[in-house]
């Protein structure tokens, strides 16, 4: 950087002529949106022309108060923390272990495994989201397998029941036992369950017993998928699984690249001194990579908080907003229905603050427990 006193001279003009274009672009595309976001979050802007239209003014911290009093915000934050926890304590350790296994050639064809684990990263996020959405859908393969298993179990029970009754011998006792097997929810489908089901079964007289059993399975075997996805506490599980599957490979590559920089002789020396593979990993590789791990954790945390497209494509935050994360919560307020830009900007700034706090924690952890990377 030139001396401050010389900035007035020709050198100074040359300096500014070179710096100013980049600096202006930075102000325009980085600083201006950030400042505008802060301004909007404390404003009462309600749509229409932003500059030169209807005047809008200062509204204080109203939007922030609304964010913190909204249960949907806390639900989205909780889901984001699940993703952060999974990223830091799932993707990073797994990526590290896989990288170590490949680096130390503890498996055959390490190049192949490296490729297989990295492949999900090179597929479009939207494609991955739609792919897994199909897999987890009520008509998808998982539902198909689960429904078939449930059906097989119910069918064998029905066959045993009819065998014990000596075939198509329908009485109230048999009908009651079928209803017991079906569970209480099925009772709601009838006004008077026993006689109505009996009539239905009797209408199959003359038809093969297998047809009746098949149709009773259609009627009573519960479908698997919605039951699974409806529970708020476990609806995130498929999403978390996909995130783990998709991004672990990226950390594997990061760790592997840095492991390859470690002097192989150090590892050999440790092995000659009798260190096991586990001890080499714990006492040689791990301290040497602590800086990489911290940087990866920062990447994981910021990526987790800003993740959007995968979950948007996979669940859209549904069903009933149980898989909503902060970015989707912000998007819904910014673009769905009547847009509320002050609220959406307040959410985005809260996300930034949370991100800084988590990164600060990571830095502290590194200072406290980390080693020195050569």
């Amino acid at each position: 950087m030139p001396n401050r006193n010389r900035l007035h001279g020709e050198e100074g003009r040359a300096y500014w002529s070179m710096v100013l274009p980049a600096f202006s672009i930075y102000l325009l595309v980085m600083a201006f949106p950030i400042v505008l976001s802060i301004v909007l979050s404390v404003s009462n802007y309600s749509g229409g022309k932003m500059f030169g239209g209807e005047p809008w003014g200062f509204a204080g911290l109203k939007s922030y108060a609304r964010v913190f009093s909204d249960p949907l915000f806390w639900n989205a934050l909780k889901n984001n923390f699940y993703i952060v926890l999974l990223s830091v304590f799932g993707q990073l350790p797994l990526g590290f272990i896989f990288a170590y296994i490949i680096y130390r050639r503890l498996v055959k064809w390490p190049g192949f495994w490296q490729g297989v684990l990295y492949v999900p990263n090179i597929i479009s996020v939207i494609v991955v989201g739609l792919l897994w959405q199909t897999i987890f859908s009520p008509n998808g393969p998982i539902a198909e397998v689960m429904n078939n298993l449930a059906r097989a179990g119910f069918q064998s029970k029905l066959e045993a029941l009819f065998a014990s009754a000596g075939g198509f011998n329908v009485d109230d006792g048999l009908v009651s036992r079928i209803l017991d097997m079906a569970g209480p929810a099925a009772l709601d489908w009838f006004s008077d369950p026993v006689p109505e089901l009996k009539d239905l079964i009797l209408s199959y007289e003359g038809a093969p017993l297998s047809e009746l059993i098949g149709d009773l399975c259609n009627l009573f075997v519960p479908r698997w998928s919605p039951e699974f996805l409806s529970k708020p506490n476990i609806a995130m599980l498929p999403v978390l699984f996909v995130i783990l599957w998709m991004y672990t490979g990226m950390y594997l590559i990061l760790f592997l690249a840095n492991m390859q920089k470690i002097d192989a002789q150090v590892i050999e020396a440790a092995r000659i001194d009798g260190a096991s593979e586990g001890q080499v990993m714990r006492y040689v590789i791990l301290p040497a990579l602590s800086g990489t791990i911290v940087n990866s954790a920062i990447l994981a945390i910021s990526g987790s908080l800003s993740s959007f497209s995968l979950i948007f494509a996979m669940t859209g935050g549904g069903p009933s907003r149980v898989t909503e994360i902060l970015s989707i919560y912000m998007y819904n307020n910014a673009f769905l229905g009547r847009p509320n830009l002050p609220l959406a900007n307040a959410i985005s700034l809260v996300m930034v603050v949370i991100s800084f706090m988590l990164i600060g924690l990571t830095k502290l952890a590194e200072k406290r427990y980390g080693g020195k990377e050569e």
Binding site: G47, K49, M50, G52, F190, D215, L219, R223, S320, L336
Partner: protein, 433 residues
């Protein structure tokens, strides 16, 4: 000599420039989906206008669904609204109406032109801003039961007239692997728009929603809770399947056509999904089957309803002209010419023919397939209408209802809980105003 030639050329250029028509460029935002039936016809509509009006250049941007609304919102914020754009009469295009970003078409088109449209279309009270920001192309019934009468007859049933008729079908149809009724609700709005609004109209009536908006009633009051309970019972009684909550709006039409359900609940606009696609020549339901095997019906009568037979309906979408175009300018004249073309008898007949909607323009004739022809008959047979909830409530409130209806479908919330959440959202929205 050179000077003379130059002078002659100058005079010639000035003369040509003076006599030539002023060329106007209009920016247009069109709402279309390229893989939707009717898209090739839409492209031709614009090409025909362009060919017949060489003095107007159209710069058309085509988007669909949320990206359309987001971009229009961004244009509104930047103060660069397109000259002609597609809008909703209600809260979906709230900014356009409330900030008066569109010209009053009543003044622009004039009463002589508007007399050819139905009264519901030209009534400013049907639009959020209380003025005619757009001209609805249709008056839409948002709740129609598409009934596969053949499938019902094959299983020994007649089209249902009461809730009990529906319930009676459950064991037998379920045993055959057929859902009694299907209403895909993964996208959250279909249940509210295509069934719940009608149920509220039947159980509580428009006067109840008016009373809520006037602060004289609450969503936690009995009529609204009873309406939510009807939806709860539809799932509990097995008439609707809980897995419908996981089915996307676009997937369900094909499932119904393939016989996976005896009844499909949607808006009248969905008739267009079943007719012959002009590009491929294929139809989800053949015209012959549309004619004899399918019927359009209102939702059957519900125990405890106070307004028998009402069906939710709302003014449909339409075109608007940017308020920023100077009055009396060549651009305003060009935009007016375009609007008049889009609402012309010929263009409306094409839209009617593709099953997009039944036009609000009077006397439009088209050679439509049987299912589309049944739509105006449905209107005539069901003249009593009620509010569509997302047409009268703010998104901050109706989004909570949408989510609540999904939760009811999943069995994770009760009617009373959803009613309480709706009231809380309403009070919070009131406080934020």
């Amino acid at each position: 000599m050179k000077r003379m030639i130059a002078a002659i050329l100058l005079i010639a250029v000035a003369a040509v420039g003076g006599f030539a028509q002023e060329k106007v460029t209009l920016t247009v935002m069109n709402y279309q989906q390229a893989d939707q039936a009717g898209y090739p016809e839409d492209v031709k509509i614009w090409q025909d206008f362009q060919a017949a009006n060489p003095d107007i250049t159209l710069n058309i941007e085509v988007l669909f669904n949320d990206p359309y609304h987001q971009k229009l919102q961004a244009y509104a914020a930047a103060g660069t609204m397109p000259d002609v754009f597609y809008v909703w009469p209600g809260a979906r295009s709230a900014v356009i109406h409330e900030k008066k970003l569109a010209k009053d078409l009543n003044q622009l088109l004039g009463s002589a032109y508007l007399k050819d449209f139905s009264a519901s279309a030209t009534n400013p009270a049907n639009q959020l801003g209380g003025y005619m920001a757009m001209l609805p192309q249709s008056f839409t019934y948002t709740s129609v039961m598409y009934v596969n009468t053949k499938l019902l007859a094959d299983n020994g049933f007649k089209p249902p007239k009461t809730y009990a008729d529906l319930k009676k079908m459950v064991p037998k149809l379920k045993a055959k692997g057929i859902a009694v009724a299907m209403l895909p609700n993964k996208d959250a709005w279909p249940m509210q728009s295509c069934l719940f609004s009608t149920v509220v109209g039947r159980m509580a009536g428009d006067e109840f929603l008016d009373a809520v908006l006037a602060g004289k009633a609450k969503f936690t009051d009995k009529p609204f809770v009873a309406a939510l309970e009807v939806i709860q019972n539809l799932y509990k009684d097995g008439i609707l399947s809980r897995e419908d909550v996981q089915i996307g709006y676009g997937e369900a039409a094909g499932m119904f056509a393939s016989g996976k359900a005896a009844i499909y609940i949607d808006g009248d606009w969905r008739a267009g999904a079943y007719i012959t696609d002009k590009a491929s020549g294929k139809a989800l339901i053949s015209p012959a089957a549309q004619d004899k095997d399918f019927a359009l019906m209102p939702f059957p009568s519900i125990p405890g309803e106070k307004n028998r037979g009402v069906v939710s309906a709302v003014a449909g979408t339409g075109w608007a002209v940017s308020a920023s175009i100077p009055a009396g300018s060549a651009k305003e004249k060009a935009a007016t010419r375009l609007i008049q073309y889009l609402y012309s008898n010929d263009v409306q007949a094409i839209r009617f023919n593709t099953g997009a909607y039944v036009p609000t323009r009077k006397g439009v004739k088209a050679d439509v397939e049987p299912l589309v022809a049944k739509v105006p008959v449905f209107y005539a047979e069901n003249p009593k209408t009620c509010y569509v909830i997302d047409g009268v409530l703010d998104p901050a409130v109706y989004n909570v209802i949408n989510d609540g209806l999904i939760a009811i479908g999943l069995g994770t919330k009760t009617a009373a809980q959803v009613a309480a959440e709706t009231q809380a959202a309403y009070e919070s929205w009131l406080a934020s105003k």
